[in-house]
């Protein structure tokens, strides 16, 4: 019998705070406001997100996703739903590290704030980067398009294979735009440019991420209360050192969320709990519906 039946899935950044709040109950919103107040005051951010300066505003939005994850995570725990294992998509790794007790929530917030150092380095370099999502094409379809159009993988790659119908690309802004256009012409259901000026999960971000990576390695990590599955090599992580490394390599490497999810299914997981407030993980993830189900907080 497998010891892994129930997995908690943590989302990365990308959802507007108002969308997260809309989904929450009044009690959850109150809790969220309290955590946001404490966190934002400590970091010198305005709780009115639009009042923050440009990079602070982006970081504040991203922090909101992290805080929202914490509220939803605690809701599940209060309901007696305890994870056997967890997994985080992109900055969801920071989130799962904090919720599973490997790092403090304060340190997790500081990790998110360190993205500003990467943004500053990029701004200084003048490099134009971006990311985007392609709905309706798989990683193989997109890799074929990259080859057919003679794009260099130095310029664009699949940054995350979320599922067979949802693929995220990352690279130079111009090439990302061209690949999105090619995908549309090839029959993608929808293409969405992120326009965030960063190529997370493409190695080209590496030269701008020294401060971020160094910071991730400088905090205090404990062994997580529950194991975490790596989205990079599908190993089961049980130590603080594992989580530190996962946080350090996170933004520099492409993600195989699809393979990691399949791995969880093969381990025997049948109940997946979406820790995002708006069900984002459940939307971009695909599991075998005959074998398992993804739950959102409002279903428990």
């Amino acid at each position: 019998m497998s010891n892994f039946k129930r997995a908690f899935l943590f989302n990365g950044i990308g959802t507007k705070p108002e969308k997260l709040l809309r989904a929450m109950t009044p009690a959850m919103v109150e809790k969220y406001r309290s955590y946001q107040h404490d966190g934002f005051v400590r970091l010198g951010l305005s709780e009115n997100i639009s009042e923050n300066a440009s990079m602070d505003k982006i970081a504040a939005e991203w922090l909101s996703s992290l805080i929202s994850d914490r509220v939803i995570f605690e809701y599940y725990i209060e309901k007696g739903i305890i994870p056997d294992i967890g997994m985080g998509h992109s900055s969801g790794i920071v989130s799962v590290s904090a919720c599973f007790g490997s790092v403090s929530h304060e340190f997790a917030h500081e990790i998110i704030m360190m993205n500003r150092a990467t943004m500053r380095s990029l701004e200084k370099s003048g490099e134009k980067q971006d990311m985007g999502t392609i709905i309706g094409l798989s990683i193989d379809d997109v890799n074929e398009l990259i080859a057919e159009n003679n794009f260099s993988t130095d310029d664009v790659i699949v940054g995350s294979a979320n599922s067979r119908i949802c693929t995220m690309i990352s690279g130079k802004e111009e090439t990302v735009e061209q690949l999105l256009l090619a995908a549309q012409e090839a029959g993608a259901i929808k293409v969405i440019p992120f326009r965030i000026g960063l190529a997370y999960h493409h190695p080209m971000i590496r030269k701008h991420s020294d401060e971020y990576v160094q910071f991730c390695g400088g905090g205090e990590y404990h062994d997580p209360k529950y194991p975490v599955l790596s989205i990079f090599d599908q190993r089961i992580m049980t130590t603080g050192a594992d989580l530190m490394l996962e946080n350090q390599i996170n933004i520099l490497n492409p993600i195989r969320w699809d393979i990691a999810l399949k791995h969880l299914e093969e381990m025997g997981v049948t109940e997946f709990f979406d820790v995002s407030a708006n069900g984002a993980v459940g939307k971009f993830s695909r599991i075998n519906k005959r074998k398992g189900r993804i739950y959102t907080f409002d279903e428990v």
Binding site: G136, I165, Q184, E185, A186, G187, A188, I189, K283, F284
Partner: protein
């Protein structure tokens, strides 16, 4: 090409409205043929993909998403009527929808 009858069209429309009501957590009565799936109902493209797959399974259709994506370039979906028309065409033509 499969034959489209009024009964099948109604069945498809009911299936689509039930699906959007359920996924978007709104009353089915609030959905009209003029509703905009994104702006009025809060749906997204991943939901639409799910709808296509649900339709394919229900009616045992062999249809590629790319065929539908190419058709959508010529015929964008702005209302629920567009969605119903699209799914009816998927039912009728399958992958040949791309040639319409």
């Amino acid at each position: 090409m499969r034959e489209m009858t009024d009964a099948i069209r109604q069945e498809i429309q009911d299936m689509i409205f039930d699906y959007y009501a359920d996924e978007c957590e709104i009353d089915k009565d609030e959905i009209t043929m003029e509703s905009n799936p994104q702006e009025d109902l809060g749906s997204d493209s991943l939901m639409f993909v799910e709808l296509i797959e649900m339709t394919a399974e229900k009616y045992d259709l062999d249809v590629k998403l790319q065929s539908i994506g190419k058709y959508m370039l010529k015929s964008p979906m702005n209302t629920m009527k567009d969605v119903v028309d699209m799914i009816c065409k998927v039912y009728q033509y399958g992958n040949d929808i791309v040639n319409l």
